[in-house]
């Protein structure tokens, strides 16, 4: 993506997308952003539906296993 014409679509990280880098979903978090609870805190209790619509309590489903809990933007776009 060398075209200068499209500079506003390339963000500070050198990535180009169909919408300008000023769009909210492309903006990075504030510099001092804390990203939620700190290490050492318990992950909150939560019950969410899975892709089949089944309600899953995260800590119950995890049992006594370690886990990675990933937050992503969207599976659609």
């Amino acid at each position: 993506m060398q075209d200068n014409e499209f500079n506003e679509y390339t963000d500070e990280f050198g990535q180009t997308a169909p919408l300008p880098a000023s769009h909210g979903q492309r903006k990075p978090p504030p510099v001092d952003f804390q990203f939620g609870p700190a290490e050492g805190e318990r992950f909150p209790d939560c019950t969410l539906r899975d892709a089949d619509g089944v309600r899953i309590n995260l800590h119950e489903d995890r049992g006594s296993a370690k886990a990675a809990v990933l937050f992503f933007r969207s599976a659609v776009w």
């Binding site: 993506m1 014409e5 296993a65 937050f71 776009w77």
Partner: protein, 332 residues
């Protein structure tokens, strides 16, 4: 999207290690189901309807306003790593949302050690006393835009030897790695293991040292100027040069400082993108109909914010036409 598709391939490593994996977004269960079916996702995708958990945690992307109808409610992407008691032991978040972490990084964080895969590109010095192996870690040994990998530099030191972390007194050499790649290749801050302290009372000083096996991990990623090398030359590997400086000593003798060169060659892999993107080199367009699903997201969003939402959509349509994936580029 591309990160989840990669995680599908890494998930067997999670299962082997007994670590659970959950991926959460603001999407509805039916949207997640459609994605899972198209991409054979084999780990749980969970729907945080109304972004309640995202807000509760405090990771809502507040740059996205209610008027930005299809996008409102997204988090800043990242991962919490939990121990057996559900306590957070690791947080993998970053300012650069393109530089998303691999499943391997999540697993390493959960296990507290770096698990090198046999499929990962590597190069080694084959020294007996101080053996150094550089590994391109994560993502199945490939490079692609949008997911960060790590270069792991593993020192295996003969018994009794140690190497130094900074700071060191003048005349001694701390362990240091220089990484060089093509334009558009980026490196982050090196992750180092804990040192132990070596007291030198006769010199009235204390040094920070490592012994046995030492893993230094450097986050690495590429931007679109590297990915655009693809296309006609899709067979070209990414070539990364490493220069590793160290000084090994034992309790009696300090050896001469050394520098070693290693080269990693890493194949490109395509980035999985929704069918909202133009088909270009390096993009693998999903068979899922995101256009249809986006229309539904927009309809639902307009119920929430009709006037501001319509204004946003008009601006978005115009921006997309002008943009690099839009008509102007295609017709030029």
């Amino acid at each position: 999207m591309t990160q989840l598709v990669e995680l599908r391939d890494a998930y067997k490593k999670f299962q082997a290690a007994g670590v659970k994996l959950y991926a959460i977004s603001y999407d509805r269960p039916d949207e997640l189901a459609e994605f899972a079916a198209h991409h054979d996702i084999n780990f749980p995708l969970l729907s945080d309807k109304g972004s309640r958990l995202i807000r509760q945690l405090g990771i809502l992307n507040t740059h996205v306003t209610r008027d930005q109808v299809p996008f409102y409610g997204i988090p800043y992407p990242g991962t919490y790593v939990l121990n057996e008691q559900g306590v957070i032991t690791g947080k993998l978040f970053g300012r650069n949302h393109h530089a998303r972490f691999t499943g391997e990084s999540m697993l390493d964080s959960a296990l507290g050690e770096i698990l090198i895969g046999e499929d990962e590109p590597m190069a080694s010095t084959d020294d007996e006393q101080v053996n150094i192996t550089a590994v391109w870690h994560g993502g199945g040994g490939t490079v692609k835009a949008s997911v960060v990998r790590e270069i792991v530099v593993r020192f295996e030191l003969a018994e009794g030897l140690h190497i130094y972390d900074e700071p060191v007194p003048q005349g001694m050499v701390a362990t240091r790695v220089e990484v060089t790649g093509p334009e558009g290749f980026h490196t982050g801050d090196m992750r180092k293991p804990a040192t132990h302290t070596l007291e030198l009372p006769e010199l009235d000083t204390a040094l920070q040292v490592w012994s046995n096996q030492v893993d230094l991990a450097i986050p690495v990623w590429v931007d679109d100027s590297v990915v655009s090398l693809l296309g006609e030359q899709a067979e070209v590997d990414l070539e990364i040069a490493l220069k590793i400086h160290y000084q090994a000593c034992d309790d009696q003798v300090c050896h001469i400082p050394q520098s070693r060169d290693l080269t990693l060659r890493v194949p490109f892999a395509s980035y999985t993108a929704p069918n909202l993107f133009k088909r270009v080199a390096g993009l693998d367009i999903s068979a899922m109909d995101s256009q249809q699903l986006m229309k539904r997201k927009i309809r639902r969003g307009l119920l929430r914010s009709p006037i501001g939402g319509l204004r946003f959509l008009r601006k978005m349509a115009s921006d997309m036409k002008k943009g690099p994936m839009g008509k102007r580029r295609g017709s030029s």
